[in-house]
């Protein structure tokens, strides 16, 4: 017995046990994705038959029907351009404000910082009702403007501002001072010296901002009502028959189309993406 269970073999056995346990825990994390993808190419009848991971009959037609059932291509494009707009504007405003908070001295700086921090304590849900009336007053209901402006200036934008401030503060001051000596204006130093040095922070902010906007649900639900203005998360919920019963084969095909591209990018850049979230979680 003791000859068989050498320390090396014991270590191997415990490794196998640990890995198997982790595999079991991983099932509910991984399985929904697999099931979503394979069910998206099943017929409506097969979906409710005996479960099979591999479709017996591959109904690729689902993917055509997704685009004819509602303006899904248009909705996809909406999500894409809204998320990109939110990301670009957040990067611009957060890095400008973050730079001022990190590097410039002015009366009231501490006050401004404190004000902005207070926004981190207030969930979007608290201010959504007044914001609805504000947008209504401005005639912006059923447009994409609220979906772009609210995330940029909401708590998420403030988190981005503080992430940028943190990063700027850690940069060596000498390079920026040299830029000033060479006759660059403040804006010139920000744009030509500080921004090029801050690519890691900008990338992190871009990643979390894009995903935040891409996955937003409450705001589109409240501000947008016409089909061709829906964003993806809202469109996904709309694959139902007239009685509101989900057309699962279409819904799951559409969900796959919405999720798989994000997953592919995630698999390629998983390290960078996970680090970005860790950064925002700790600092925000």
């Amino acid at each position: 017995m003791s000859e068989f269970l050498t320390p090396r073999r014991l270590a191997l056995i415990s490794r196998i046990c640990w890995t198997s346990a982790l595999c079991v825990v991983a099932i509910p994390f991984l399985f929904p994705f697999l099931w979503m993808i394979t069910s998206g190419v099943k017929s409506a009848a097969e979906i409710f038959g005996a479960p099979s991971l591999i479709p017996r009959h591959w109904q690729w037609h689902n993917y055509v029907e997704v685009f004819t059932y509602q303006p899904f291509a248009r909705q996809y494009f909406n999500s894409l351009y809204i998320s990109l707009s939110v990301t670009v504007l957040t990067l611009l405003f957060a890095s400008l404000a973050g730079y001022a908070l990190a590097r410039m001295r002015f009366a009231g700086a501490a006050m401004v910082g404190l004000f902005l921090v207070s926004a981190l304590m207030v969930p979007e849900e608290v201010t959504i009702i007044p914001n609805f009336f504000l947008m209504k007053w401005l005639g912006l209901i059923d447009t994409h403007v609220p979906l772009i402006l609210l995330p940029v200036f909401g708590p998420h934008g403030i988190v981005a501002t503080f992430l940028m401030r943190q990063y700027f503060m850690a940069l060596p001051k000498e390079l920026e001072e040299a830029g000033r000596m060479d006759g660059l204006s403040r804006l010139g130093v920000w744009w030509q010296v500080a921004i090029p040095l801050s690519k890691p922070a900008l990338a992190a902010v871009a990643i979390i901002t894009f995903l935040h906007s891409w996955n937003l649900f409450l705001e589109p639900l409240i501000f947008v009502s016409s089909l061709e203005k829906f964003t993806l998360p809202l469109a996904l919920t709309n694959f139902t028959d007239p009685y509101g019963v989900p057309l699962w084969h279409l819904q799951l095909a559409a969900t796959s189309l919405a999720v798989v591209p994000i997953l592919i990018v995630y698999l390629i850049a998983q390290r960078q993406i996970i680090e970005s979230f860790a950064l925002s979680g700790v600092k925000g």
């Binding site: 099931w35 908070l101 410039m104 001295r105 002015f106 201010t127 969900t255 919405a258």
Partner: protein, 306 residues
């Protein structure tokens, strides 16, 4: 860059603008867009919601009257739904936060040291975090259907008759909490992994030399050193649990029999479905107070510890 105040700096600025004033002006310009957005879309609405919460305002009749604290007193004393919402939100938080944190810590301990395949596991456990809550809720709603649902078909294989998860109030709460934990646990796992990796390995090595067991090392060294991280994670997760909306909206719609009617969903339902703007705003203020209280507790404990 400290500079002696008495030595005048040479500069090319117009004489009417001191260097200090110029810097301040530039700072306000840099901050301009963010501050304007803050005032318009945050500070203003926050003041407005306080005002709304003291009016009785029905969107359909377009009438609004000042009623003072009536919306609050009505919620606290007369409206049975209010206490149901409080109860549901508390159950949701009390179920979600410990489960999420325990699983996150267990996964982090298993995945904080390099072994072959560690990156694969981390990637898998984090994948739901980058997935939209809408997609996640849709797929789980599909898997958790009554008899035809995959989960129940699998349970039937091992001889268990699974409940109709999303149609029975208590099971619906369990299902919503469980799927939310799976969706979000990756984030806390990553925060715990970072904290675990920051603990010097010498501590453990020294304790081992002294003959400490793994459990003793965990309770005596690791867990106390994780304290600040645990506090941050606990507050973030609790706040997050009070904000859950999309998950509930898509999986149960607050039902069945209001069994999953939580605070964020009640705000939406009262405000945008029943058009009770005053009452919805009072609920929003209650959420504000809860979240602010939790944040202040976190700040206070952090300050005490440092």
């Amino acid at each position: 860059m400290p500079r002696p105040a008495t030595v005048p700096m040479a500069n090319d600025d117009p004489p009417w603008l001191s260097l200090k004033m110029r810097e301040a002006m530039e700072a306000w310009l840099f901050l301009g867009p963010t501050l304007a957005g803050f005032l318009i879309f945050f500070a203003g609405p926050l003041v407005a919601v306080v005002g709304y919460s003291m009016t009785e305002w029905n969107l359909l009749s377009q009438q609004s009257t000042f009623v003072g604290l009536k919306n609050y007193s009505h919620a606290l004393t007369e409206n049975p739904d209010f206490w149901l919402v409080v109860r549901n939100s508390a159950i949701f938080a009390l179920g979600l936060v410990p489960a999420n944190m325990a699983l996150a810590l267990a996964l982090a301990i298993a995945l904080s040291r390099p072994f072959r395949g560690v990156v694969v596991f981390r990637t898998v456990f984090f994948a739901p975090v980058v997935t939209s809550a809408a997609a996640w809720a849709i797929v789980w709603k599909f898997l958790l259907q009554g008899e035809a649902g995959f989960v129940n078909q699998m349970l039937a294989y091992v001889g268990i008759a699974g409940p109709n998860w999303l149609r029975e109030p208590n099971w619906a709460m369990v299902a919503v909490i469980a799927t939310r934990v799976i969706k979000m646990v990756g984030l806390n796992m990553i925060l715990y992994i970072a904290a675990l990796q920051a603990i010097p390995r010498d501590y453990e090595a020294a304790a081992r030399l002294e003959g400490a067991s793994s459990w003793q090392i965990f309770t005596g060294i690791t867990w106390p050193l994780l304290g600040p991280t645990t506090l941050v994670i606990m507050v973030i997760t609790t706040i997050g649990s009070f904000k859950v909306f999309d998950h509930i909206y898509l999986m149960t719609g607050g039902g069945p029999e209001n069994g999953t009617l939580v605070l964020a969903f009640a705000i939406y339902e009262q405000g945008f479905k029943f058009f009770n703007v005053g009452y919805a705003s009072a609920l929003a203020m209650i959420m504000f107070v809860i979240v602010m209280g939790l944040t202040l507790v976190q700040l206070a404990v952090r300050r005490r510890d440092t």
